[in-house]
């Protein structure tokens, strides 16, 4: 994948570049908003990672400008700002995701993957499948190996989020945001507890575990090897 990183802090920029290259991506690094905007508007990227605060043209203006020019490349904002109002502002400007610095690198990777390899979801698609696990979005029913599994509404949403990102790692923060709409870091590991409940229902007593723990990152649902 081709990634554009717009980051004025040299060390952070180098860290992101190195990490992404190790993960097998091609990275262009821009140190100013002006360079970033020039690259973003001129070349084709799979994803753009932009610092929210940049000298000269800031991240918000870059996104507004390229969206105005019809460039729909997914954008992830990086920010040191704490405010949730900033998050809403960034998303309204046209950014697709938002990450508070400092972050675990796995978090950034997971978000890039979630944004870029999003499978084309046709509107007619009403059933999600992972191996022998089946989720009917209309009837709100879940079956594993033909056996119906009874889920609480919140467990259903958690499983749906995992299945929509099947094969990809989703982080705890992504789950907190996507399933509960929580944009803060709870002290309690509520995600792990909910995942363990969910495992008890869809993995326990079946052949092969579908929900995998990705060490240092999060969870992933996929067919067992």
């Amino acid at each position: 994948m081709k990634v554009l990183v717009i980051e004025d802090d040299r060390e952070t920029g180098a860290y992101i570049k190195k990490g992404l290259e190790e993960a097998g991506h091609v990275v262009d690094l821009a140190a100013t908003g002006r360079d970033g905007l020039f690259l973003a508007a001129g070349e084709k990227f799979d994803v753009i990672i932009a610092d929210r605060r940049l000298p000269g043209i800031d991240g918000l203006s870059i996104v507004k400008t390229i969206r105005g020019a019809g460039v729909m490349t997914p954008v992830i904002f990086l920010t040191t700002m704490i405010g949730v109002g900033d998050r809403v502002e960034g998303l309204e400007a046209g950014a697709d995701d938002y990450l508070l610095k400092p972050f675990a690198f796995a978090e950034l990777l997971a978000r890039i993957h979630a944004l870029t390899r999003r499978p084309p979801m046709s509107a007619a698609e009403t059933v999600l499948r992972v191996a022998d696990l089946e989720m009917d979005l209309i009837a709100r029913k879940v079956r594993r190996a033909g056996r119906e599994v009874d889920l609480q509404p919140r467990e259903f949403r958690l499983l749906e989020f995992l299945m929509r990102n099947a094969g990809k790692t989703v982080t705890r923060t992504m789950l907190l945001e996507g399933v509960w709409d929580f944009h803060f870091d709870p002290k309690t590991n509520i995600v792990d507890t909910h995942i363990s409940r969910l495992r008890g229902k869809i993995d326990k007593g079946f052949d092969g575990e579908l929900i995998e723990t990705v060490r240092g990152a999060g969870y992933c649902i996929r067919a067992p090897h």
Binding site: D9, Y15, I82, V84, L100, P102, T188, I190
Partner: protein, 456 residues
Amino acid sequence: MRLIDWSRGTAVRIAALTSILVIAVVSLLGIFVYALVNDAMQGRVRAQISEEIEQVIADHGPVDQSKLIAAIESRTHAGVFRRFAYRLTKPDGTHITGDAWIAASFVGWHWQQIDQAPDRSRAERRVLVLTRDVGSNLFVSIARDAHWITDLEQELGQLLLRALGLAVVAALFVSMLVKRLIGRRIADVTETARVVMNGNLTQRVPVSTAGDDFDRLAATLNEMLDRIRALMDGLSQVTNDIAHDLRTPLGRLRQKIEQVRDDAVLLPGHASALDQAIEEVDGLLATFTAMLRIAQIDSGARRSGFKSIDLGETVQTVCEAYEPNAEDTGHVLVAHVAEEVHIEGDRDLLAQMFANLVENALTHTPAGTTIRVSVRPSSTGMVVVVADNGPGVPAGEIDKIFGRFYRAEASRTTPGTGLGLSLAAAIARLHGGTITATDNAPGLRISVLFPTDSLA
């Protein structure tokens, strides 16, 4: 929203005092005039009667009963339009001659109420009677119709009542004027103070062109607000700088540790040591994040992003999120949400506030504790209560739990920043709400009141 409670305002008190004073002065003046006039009138009648009685006695020389009889009879028969009535009696009340209706049983002045006056012009009237012991066992009484005094008294009374009425109206008018003039100026100051208190530091007290005391007060207050704003701007700038300056190197530290953990060939035990180091850094970052959030929330900057939020749904979501954890730690978490309640607010922050309150209860109470979360209406707004039946907080410390970095003695060893409840309090303040901690007997009860005007 009412700006001033009129029944207790200073302007109203001044106005009421003025009115009472005016009414009192007018009343006193009236009573004085009334007494003076009445006295003068009665004095004249008394003088006339005294003069007449002297005349009767003087005309007829040394007291002689037959002459007196003659004198009184001649006067009694003087005609219908005579000014006085006369009577001659003995001290024991035996009538000798004259107008028998005069009460002459004792010596001196008295008022007499008679059913029918001699001229029959009125059904009832008052006469003034003077009875004098003229010697030789004889009493002479002379009466004078004094109805005109009564009439005058009545007219004067009515006049004074009218004057009093006028004074009351004038006083009320003055009161209204004072209330409007002073009350409006005070309301301006009150309103500005309220807006500033709610976080809008740009609001200023309006200054009129009159250049009066209130304008000087307003100008001084505005200068003060300018100064406070400059200080606050400086402070938040410093806070943001510190946050940025400290978070950035901490972030790099985290990056470096992460890189080493992922890349390097580590000796046994080093990987977990590095994981612990990352956890420590994350803890520090969490503390900074919480501090910055409190500062940012207290500056009121986020109010602009307020939307209509379903309070009940938010509380319900938070409780659902924590329910499995509560079960794992042996707690019972019960949510009771009465109905759909919308308030103007920031959903992200409200969710964090409720999460902090629930987490606080879960962290600081032993297994077996029941935590009840409820949303219900009260007379002043909507109340969200998080109550547990755990060990509670010592009475002397219950007010301190919302202070920054407060840790109860018993919970020094449990993890946490000591900022969770401070953050909750800041979020409540941002929403115009109040957060209070009380003894749940046993346990701790934290209530957040969202006043009626924040309800959407």
